[in-house]
Symmetry: C2
Subunit: 329 residues, 2 copies
């Protein structure tokens, strides 16, 4: 048996040690990962994926910890992935935040993993989806993906989830900043954490008004605003209920359609990543670009020259066949 097949079999047999190993393969873009994924892909789909994002300092880790506790009380197993896409330069997730989660790690029904590499942000978002697939195939009932910070990169990471929670709190991540960042539009559930801090009620009201204005008539789902205090546990039950309600809303066709759309997006990102490697992996192009620029060509001219040799062939091309079996291992 190949190493990929062997590790995949272990995962399917319920060997927990296979989970972090397969996630490491995904994180490192190990060439064995696709074959392993193909073997476990039929088991993917049973987990409910919740993405958690929001500005730094709003208490996302504490909330995730509490969510895990409540999921466990309901006898559901939980896989948690904490992603730090805002460190492309250091490449290191600050694991200090995770220490608070340790009480959960003594419980075999909870799996926690941090991730902060895979070069570019695009790669990190792809690796995060792969890691969720691994946790899903292993059989965790709930998969929670958490990101540090807020922005396009963070949204890319959580956007593959079924339910996206955006966490805010009075002061740190105030409502105006959230609106600026377009966070209201991407949230399935808005959570106001630190509900015992002054200003929380006002933030809830502001957000409810903003949601009302922005989503009026545009969607069948009205984003709820849920207040809680993850530090004391107060109100976190309400967050779980909001996730459940959204899950109920997405049941059946809606869920399948949403997941299919997210898979297509994943493929598009993968192809973009690979096209970029294919073009720039060849030193010839890079040298040509340097020469053209040195001779005063504009970046538009240079890009057009590179594209001329590539894209004429792309647009003439026939799409690949639709036989799904042919490309599989």
């Amino acid at each position: 048996m190949t190493p990929a097949a062997s590790l995949a079999e272990k995962l399917l047999a319920g060997e927990r040690s296979a989970v972090p190993r397969l996630i490491s393969w995904a994180e490192n873009a190990d060439e064995r990962f696709p074959a392993a994924l193909a073997r476990i892909f039929g088991r993917v789909g049973g987990a409910w994926r919740t993405g958690v994002t929001g500005p730094p300092g709003v208490g996302k880790s504490t909330l995730v910890n509490e969510l895990a506790r409540l999921f466990r009380e309901r006898e559901r197993t939980v896989g948690i992935l904490a992603v730090d896409p805002s460190s492309p330069f250091t490449g290191g997730a600050l694991l200090g935040d995770r220490i608070r989660m340790e009480e959960r790690t003594l419980d075999a029904g909870v799996f926690i993993r941090s991730m902060a590499s895979r070069g570019s942000h695009g790669g990190l978002a792809l690796a995060a989806v792969d890691a969720c697939d691994v946790m899903d195939a292993f059989g965790f009932d709930e998969v929670v993906v958490e990101t540090v910070g807020v922005g396009q990169a963070e949204y890319d990471v959580v956007s593959a989830a079924d339910t996206v929670l955006v966490v805010l709190c009075p002061g740190a991540g105030d409502s105006i900043q959230a609106m600026k960042a377009g966070l209201l539009e991407v949230a399935d559930v808005l959570v106001v954490n630190k509900s015992d801090v002054s200003g929380a009620d006002r933030l809830v009201t502001d957000l409810e008004e903003a949601v009302h204005i922005r989503t009026a008539g545009r969607t069948e789902w009205t984003t709820p605003v849920v207040a809680c205090s993850a530090g004391t546990g107060k109100g976190v039950e309400g967050v779980v209920e909001a996730i459940e309600t959204h899950r109920g809303f997405l049941a059946g066709d809606r869920k399948e359609r949403l997941r299919a759309e997210k898979r297509i997006l994943q493929v598009r990102r993968k192809v973009s990543e690979r096209l970029s490697e294919a073009v720039w992996g060849s030193l010839g192009y890079l040298r040509t670009v340097e020469t053209l620029l040195r001779n005063g060509a504009t970046p538009y001219d240079v890009a057009a020259r590179v594209m001329t040799t590539i894209s004429a062939k792309l647009v003439d091309e026939n799409p690949p066949s639709t036989d799904p079996g042919a490309g599989r291992p």
Copy 2:
């Protein structure tokens, strides 16, 4: 004369109204822009470009306003571009922040422009570089690009600048968050704004220590930490001096090498953007992807199938010729 040539001539003749019109072309990816840029590109390079980024609420707009005032005192003209990449979903820059800048707009030596569109973040970063090229070619001595928020997208926008200022302040964007976001690594100058607020001295010390640890022996440039209060104007002179010092450090070969590297990055981004359009603009690929996924293929398999038909041709391909004239209008 073509519209592109005509507008380019107006810009070269010093007609100020050509600046916003050309920037709009860049922002809207107008097909006339590349030809216009080719006509003015020989005049690009005289301006010093300063990028300003940092977390929301640290006072970036106020600082930029003060920098513009000091540049004007030194009889240098200033073009300012305020970019809001964190709104991919709303697509709207909050112009409220800019109202404070209005006192500057009565001065013909200052030009201010906001930008928040061009679909994707990648497109926005490219449009921002184009806008800087336009302001540069018009003859502004100083070009300042400011972004709202902090993250990869924001960094992409300011990264084309010669000098990158990262602005922090006590409380709002504290040093730990800045380190998490990898901000220290990308800063040429660290600015601690709101120096009159308690905690500012401590933040300066923390940042100096962090810079010392991170950059020791790795670079010839040691990122200075400059405290100021943009609201009162106190210490902003020191920020201008830090920019000047960095400018002096980059003089000559270093500047040329740095700018050449940034142009190459710009070309790579342009090519990526166009490749993506070329592949996914054809509905055939999208339908194939949907079919394969529906039949249970993994995203890796599907991406591999799409790539098989594309990349074999890419890698076999000869790089384009190095004759710079052939592709120009």
